[in-house]
């Protein structure tokens, strides 16, 4: 009886999850993979093979866009870590118990506004006739209006702004679990601030750092709105290429190939990152 009830509740709990992951994640991915392998010969006639992938690799523009996207995503992830760590540390360890929830909420508020509106917010601030440019002219700091959009620095900044929260949340929850006595023991046994940071805080926070980095990297590499709106034509973001193939050129085969390539390549970067830092997904997720 008890076992049956357990089975039933497990089934009820798992069914929506399995449906969701099966119908909305795995099935479409299989479909995309399938489409990426076919080649249109004539109307309703297809060959199957790796030709699309060969085409992708032999075209430097596509290749370079992918590498550029991956590289900029790594830069964004690193900056998000640098910006997010002090914030997370402040919320978890320095702020008083009472203000913690409020601070955390303040980090969440930007999420209430859609990506699109936030990106337009940046445009209002940074374009040639925007708030920042005009203010600087009015103050006499610059002679004439300056275009601050459509360059890599702006894209990186906009992306960091978009994803930093996903760095702060896992870091905060990891750091909250750290007993202050560990820090005090670190000082008591003769450690300087730098030693305590390097040998106690960072190793302790490592699971949070790893999961935060994976989330931000994946989100950044797969983001579309921010690089397109803030970077314009110059952004050459890989998701933009996927969009172009699917929508502008109506070339689903190439689009699907790009999609699969992006997934495989970013997963490879994450794997490489884990290998290089000596971490594993298991210790990150299943922290005791």
């Amino acid at each position: 009886m008890g076992r049956d009830a357990g089975k039933l509740s497990l089934t009820l709990l798992m069914t929506p999850f399995l449906l969701w992951i099966g119908l909305l994640i795995i099935l479409p991915q299989i479909g995309i993979g399938y489409v990426s392998l076919r080649e249109k010969v004539s109307y309703d006639e297809f060959h199957y093979g790796l030709k699309n992938y060969v085409d992708f690799i032999s075209e430097p523009v596509y290749r370079n866009t992918l590498f550029r996207t991956a590289w900029m995503s790594i830069v964004v992830t690193a900056l998000a870590l640098v910006v997010g760590f002090p914030v997370a540390y402040y919320i978890a360890k320095i702020a008083r118990q009472k203000s913690r929830a409020a601070l955390f909420l303040m980090c969440l508020i930007p999420l209430w506004v859609s990506d699109l509106v936030r990106a337009y917010g940046w445009i209002v601030l940074l374009r040639e006739t925007g708030v920042v440019s005009r203010t600087l002219v009015a103050l006499g700091i610059i002679g004439q209006p300056v275009e601050m959009l459509y360059n890599d620095a702006t894209v990186v900044m906009g992306l960091v702004y978009t994803v930093v929260l996903f760095m702060i949340v896992p870091l905060t929850s990891t750091l909250q679990g750290m007993d202050d006595a560990l820090l005090e023991a670190g000082y008591n046994l003769g450690g300087s601030r730098l030693t305590v940071f390097r040998r106690i805080i960072v190793p302790y926070a490592m699971p949070g750092i790893v999961s935060g980095c994976i989330i931000t990297f994946m989100l950044t590499a797969g983001s579309y709105l921010t690089p397109v709106l803030l970077g314009g034509k110059n952004s050459s973001w890989f998701t933009e290429q996927i969009y172009n193939q699917f929508i502008t050129r109506y070339n689903w085969e190439a689009g699907a190939t790009f999609g699969v390539t992006l997934l495989v390549f970013t997963s490879f970067v994450v794997w490489l990152g884990l290998k290089l830092t000596g971490q594993s997904l298991a210790t990150t997720v299943a922290k005791d």
């Binding site: 005090e184 000082y187 008591n188 003769g190 106690i200």
Partner: protein
């Protein structure tokens, strides 16, 4: 020379004075305990000695030198934390080597030093173990080894036995004392558990509301407490409330609040009519008609069996419960029997009543 001296150390948090002009001198190589209830300021005092808090007044000297201007990582006092604070991301060897590396010891010498200190705490060869693989008692010893490898002037211990279960705690008390002998280092031990303080210490300071009530050997505190707080806090004691009716030299006659009267030693300058409390140890009391002394009539309420520590709980006529030691566990008495409890006035002390 003293390893550690505190000179009128004070710490105030806003209006609240946590530590109030506390002075102590700890001679080299002794085991000194600070005993007090939670919130008495003992942890604040220890944190000031370690350098995590700055005193509002007074001076702290280690080996005669004031350490007030030194940050925590430059003081040669090491601390065993309440929950030990072993670093979970390092193995045992790395935990112990941490302090040596911070101090800048030559890399080649560190493994030998780590091995030697592990041997001294009786856990040779556990360098490669993870902290999670150790038992509570082993962790305790690793926490001590991590400090002792740095040869501190004073080792501070902040209720490190609190998290252990009773059996292990009893065992660790003896072990800590032996370790202290072996290392010949000054230990400053903080606890709210009077039996820990009595068993291990050379000297104990009883702390209450930010002040030291009494500093002395465990025997002095037990046999000759200077205040009602010490008498009540150190060891078990029956506490009978009443008013002084008469003073006869060194003794007083106290009329108990519920009625009846007892005689006791006059332990402070309370005068006739003052509210006092009479403290009597359970082992100073006898059941039955003894020739001399003062007595209380009552009925046996219950028998509390605990081996050599067995007690008889007697309900006095006025409803107060009195604990009487019953080392023989004769079993002759049954609950409900009327008895007379007697004790010698010399072994009872009347102190001015504590304000609640």
């Amino acid at each position: 020379m003293y390893d550690l001296s505190c000179d009128r150390v004070t710490k105030a948090f806003g209006k609240f004075v946590a530590v109030d002009e506390v002075s102590l001198d700890i001679p080299s190589g002794s085991f000194f305990s600070i005993l007090g209830p939670s919130g008495c300021g003992k942890t604040t005092l220890m944190r000031m000695i370690a350098g995590f808090e700055t005193p509002s007044g007074g001076d702290i000297r280690i080996k005669g030198e004031s350490v007030l201007s030194l940050p925590p990582n430059k003081r040669n006092v090491k601390m065993v934390f309440q929950h030990l604070a072993l670093f979970p991301m390092m193995n045992v060897g790395e935990n112990i080597a941490y302090g040596l590396r911070c101090r800048g010891d030559a890399k080649a010498e560190i493994p030998a030093k780590v091995a030697r200190v592990l041997e001294r705490v009786g856990l040779p060869g556990v360098e490669e173990k993870q902290i999670g693989q150790l038992s509570g008692g082993q962790r305790q010893r690793i926490a001590i080894a991590r400090c002792m490898v740095l040869e501190p002037d004073v080792l501070l211990l902040d209720e490190p036995l609190g998290a252990l279960d009773l059996k292990l705690r009893e065992h660790m008390k003896i072990e800590l004392k032996q370790l202290q002998h072996q290392f010949e280092t000054t230990f400053l031990y903080i606890t709210h558990d009077q039996s820990e303080a009595l068993v291990m210490s050379d000297r104990v300071a009883v702390m209450n509301r930010g002040r030291f009530e009494q500093i002395g050997t465990p025997r002095e505190l037990y046999d000759d407490p200077v205040s009602g707080f010490v008498a009540g806090f150190v060891g078990d004691a029956n506490c009978l409330a009443g008013k002084i009716a008469e003073i006869r030299g060194g003794e007083v006659r106290v009329e108990l609040d519920g009625g009846g009267a007892v005689e006791a030693r006059r332990a402070d300058d309370s005068a006739v009519g003052d509210a006092v409390e009479v403290f009597v140890r359970p082992e100073a009391m006898r059941i039955g008609e003894t020739a001399e002394g003062t007595r209380i009539a009552g009925t046996v309420d219950s028998l509390l069996f605990n081996g050599a520590n067995s007690r008889i709980l007697v309900k006095a006529e006025r409803g107060q419960l009195v604990e009487v030691a019953d080392p023989g566990q004769s079993g002759e008495l049954t609950p409900g029997a009327s008895v007379s409890v007697g004790f010698s006035p010399a072994r009872a002390r009347a102190f001015a009543r504590r304000t609640a």
